[in-house]
């Protein structure tokens, strides 16, 4: 407020009315700001909770063990024996049968493979293969150990950790872990395998590699199919089709299709691609085509809007120079509409990326351990992986599920970002 005495030429009631208007204006502004803050808050909460739950999925717990030459000699090249011997020897008090089983349970499902790789000489330790020589190695820990280490339960062993129901590990196991941790033999490095491995029922081994590949193949196919078919359909409808009852009918149907539940497209794909054409079940080929069917109306609608936004003056300019309709459309209108079309297609892709329901129908919701190497291979997809993992009894998959959601969100952000970039970069002023 200013102190300079400016005399208002307005009457007292007009001044009061003005004040009221200012008040309501600032109220609306505050309401708007409040709405933004609220939605940002929800988003932040969602992201934070997923991050908090899933952040751990990107790290894995590893325990360092010293492999003695003696143990290697005894194992005679069998990693299974070597692992058990090592565990038995490294952990104090693992001499009863029950205690030994508890010791074995600390190692992860892939620890044996890690050792085998070294024994076979496919991975280097500095020593020549087959030559018994003591070395130390970081072996992956089991999912229960992973959970306990990440939630900091290892140090709780003095208090009654087990009774408060936080971990399924026994006090003996917790004691071992506490010792190992105090000796610096436990670390949690970045888990690259989470992004490269295929699916597995062992949480410490399970990764998104297959799902990412599957999603990429599926989306690539979906994009190629829906974009070309969609753009051509949009160009025809917008530029060449006569405006009659039939095209109006088509338009209504396309708009309807855009809001048809996605599972219907799955049923359609099942009936057409699998049963009629006999395409391979669970493959990204069929997944891509089904998602393309689903995305097609969106792409057509976005492309038409984009074509409509090209000013008619550009068409007229070309036609007035003696260009044919085809020339006018493909030399001028389509190139100008392309960024908008691409944006629409990418947004459609982003929706397709998050779809599970239609894939259920065509068998992509399945346990598929081997990452696909072509569009014809059986493949899973990212949202499917989330769905499958969330339904797994093993608790360690809860973390994996959130991790997979994070990766999915990252992909969505990348795609939507690309759409915005495209729009900004090619934004035209007429």
């Amino acid at each position: 407020m200013t102190n300079t005495p400016i005399r208002s030429p307005l009457s007292a009631s007009a001044v009061a009315g003005l004040k009221k208007r200012y008040r309501s204006e600032s109220l609306y502004r505050r309401l708007g700001l409040g709405a933004i803050c609220a939605s940002l808050g929800f988003l932040a909460f969602l992201l934070a909770s997923i991050l908090q739950q899933g952040g751990g999925a990107f790290f894995k717990t590893e325990i360092r063990f010293d492999i003695t030459a003696e143990a290697q000699m005894d194992a005679e090249g069998d990693a299974f024996i070597l692992l058990r011997t090592t565990l038995r020897n490294s952990l104090q008090g693992a001499n009863t049968r029950a205690a030994r089983r508890q010791a074995y349970a600390l190692a992860g499902a892939d620890a044996e493979e890690q050792l085998q790789a070294i024994l076979n000489g496919t991975q280097s330790t500095g020593a020549t293969p087959g030559d018994p020589m003591p070395f130390s190695i970081w072996l992956s820990a089991s999912d229960e150990v992973d959970f306990a280490v990440k939630s900091g339960l290892v140090n709780l062993m003095e208090t009654d950790a087990q009774n408060i129901g936080q971990t399924r590990l026994t006090t003996t196991q917790l004691n071992w872990l506490a010792k190992l941790e105090s000796d610096g033999e436990i670390r949690t490095p970045f888990n690259l395998g989470f992004l490269t491995n295929g699916d597995s029922r062992d949480a410490e081994r399970a990764g998104l590699g297959g799902a990412i590949m599957g999603s990429l193949f599926t989306l690539m196919l979906c994009f190629v199919t829906s974009f070309f078919v969609g753009v051509m359909a949009a160009v025809y409808l917008e530029e060449f089709a006569p405006k009659n009852l039939f095209t109006a009918f088509l338009e209504v149907n396309i708009n309807n299709l855009a809001s048809v539940p996605s599972i219907i497209f799955g049923l359609l794909g099942l009936a057409i691609f699998l049963n009629m054409f006999g395409m391979p079940r669970s493959s990204s080929l069929v997944g891509g085509m089904v998602l393309a069917l689903m995305t097609l109306p969106t792409v057509i609608i976005a492309s038409r809007v984009s074509l409509q936004s090209v000013p008619p003056s550009i068409r007229e300019a070309a036609l007035a120079l003696g260009a044919t309709r085809i020339q006018a459309v493909f030399h001028h209108v389509v190139p100008l509409a392309l960024p908008g079309m691409l944006t629409g297609a990418i947004l459609g892709m982003a929706r397709a990326l998050g779809e599970t329901a239609p894939l259920l129908m065509i068998g992509m919701v399945a346990f598929i351990a081997d990452p696909p190497s072509s569009v014809l291979d059986p493949a899973a997809a990212l949202p499917v992986q989330v769905f499958l993992w969330s339904d797994s009894p093993e608790r360690a998959f809860a973390e994996k599920t959130s991790g997979a959601i994070l990766v999915l969100i990252l992909f969505l952000i990348l795609m939507n970002g690309a759409a915005i970039m495209l729009r900004k970069k090619f934004e035209k002023k007429w």
Binding site: V224, T225, L285, A366, F367, I368, D370, P393
Partner: protein, 341 residues
């Protein structure tokens, strides 16, 4: 334009795809209850043999048989998991499509538990209690059927705690729900002589009484996801949840199971059949695919091997209740015989 070429070649490749793809990879469909076990075996099998990892799809028992019985082509599933024995109608459907010989393999048992949060009171239920608590209609004081108005467990049975009846269970589409209704509800239902008599005279009415679950807030359908039920139990100490034994096994640190008819839901009790709510799990293999599908008989063998479904097998770690040694031996012989034909 190179993209156009890609599209074109893809379009051309599609019709030929069927012959190339499904390329000798074993496909497993069926029950979501067997799915966790089937996938573990599949993964091991893929890892330890030269064959590709079988694809395991969770379609539900009925859906699995539909796919399984669709024909004998290599693009049809070779194995269908089931949380119940195959029905005669399904056998007929299979036969109609040329699937004449089906190898039935029992893999073990699954117990269904009613559990609550670890810090809550321990429940000791009878099947009769379960029926009285969850049925839509129950016999009234004068013996006629009345709408179930029991609000607390104490209303059902004086010995039970004075807690609100609040049970989280699977929806009607689920196999677990079917099993629960058949094994727990019907057993409790039959404990009333009048109703049991009805089974002979009016089977339809009998089924309607025994199989209907009340639709008020006492029973909450919590979806197919058993993890969700476990989570909700942790948050709500009053509630009980219905789910498979494997989830209890994996979450034994947070939830505990009620005893049913005095029997605790433990590994051994389910295994020896004394726990009342347990059912056998199966898978069915297509004999026509043996020899045609590389690795099929090896996969079946792996599944029934001691290492997998034996007493100390890795499936037991996942919550599968193994069969008794003698039962296993019988089955092993039968399956090997069928495979060698």
């Amino acid at each position: 334009m190179s993209l156009k070429l890609v599209a074109l070649s893809l379009a051309l490749a599609a019709p030929n795809a069927a012959s190339y793809a499904a390329d000798k990879q074993i496909r497993v469909v069926g029950s979501s209850t067997v799915y966790p076990f089937s996938t573990v075996v599949a993964e091991r099998f893929g890892r330890t043999t030269k064959y590709r990892t079988p694809i395991v799809e969770s379609t539900g028992t009925g859906g699995g048989f539909k796919l399984f019985c669709a024909g004998t082509g290599t693009d049809t599933p070779s194995v269908s998991n089931a949380s119940r024995a195959i029905k005669s109608s399904e056998v007929k459907l299979c036969a109609k499509n040329g699937v004449a010989t089906i190898i039935e393999v029992k893999v073990g048992y699954d117990g269904i538990v009613m559990a609550n949060a670890r810090q809550s009171a321990q429940f000791a239920l009878s099947t009769r209690d379960i029926f009285l608590a969850l049925a839509d209609k129950i016999p009234g004081p004068d013996g006629t059927l009345v709408k179930n108005t029991n609000r607390t467990w104490k209303d059902v049975n004086r010995a039970l705690p004075n807690a609100k009846i609040e049970v989280l269970g699977p929806p009607p589409t689920s196999g677990t729900r079917d099993a629960f209704v058949e094994l727990a509800m019907e057993a409790g239902c039959k404990s009333f002589a009048d109703i049991k008599a009805l089974k002979k005279t009016n089977k339809k009415k009998y089924k309607q009484i025994c199989h209907s679950i009340r639709e008020d807030s006492a029973f909450i359908e919590a979806g197919e996801n058993d993890n969700l039920i476990v989570q909700r139990l942790r948050a709500n100490p009053d509630a009980l949840g219905i789910f498979g034994f494997s989830f209890l096994d994996q979450n034994s640190d947070t939830v505990k199971a009620a005893t049913i008819n005095g029997v605790a839901a433990t590994f051994s009790n389910i295994s020896d059949g004394s726990y009342p709510i347990s059912r056998p799990l199966f898978f069915y293999a297509k004999a026509e695919h043996v020899g045609k599908m590389p690795g099929l008989s090896e996969f079946v063998t792996e599944f029934i091997s001691d290492k997998a479904s034996g007493e100390e097998g890795y499936l037991s770690e996942r919550g599968l209740i193994p069969m008794s040694a003698s039962e296993r031996q019988d089955l092993n012989g039968k399956v090997r015989l069928a495979l060698s034909k």
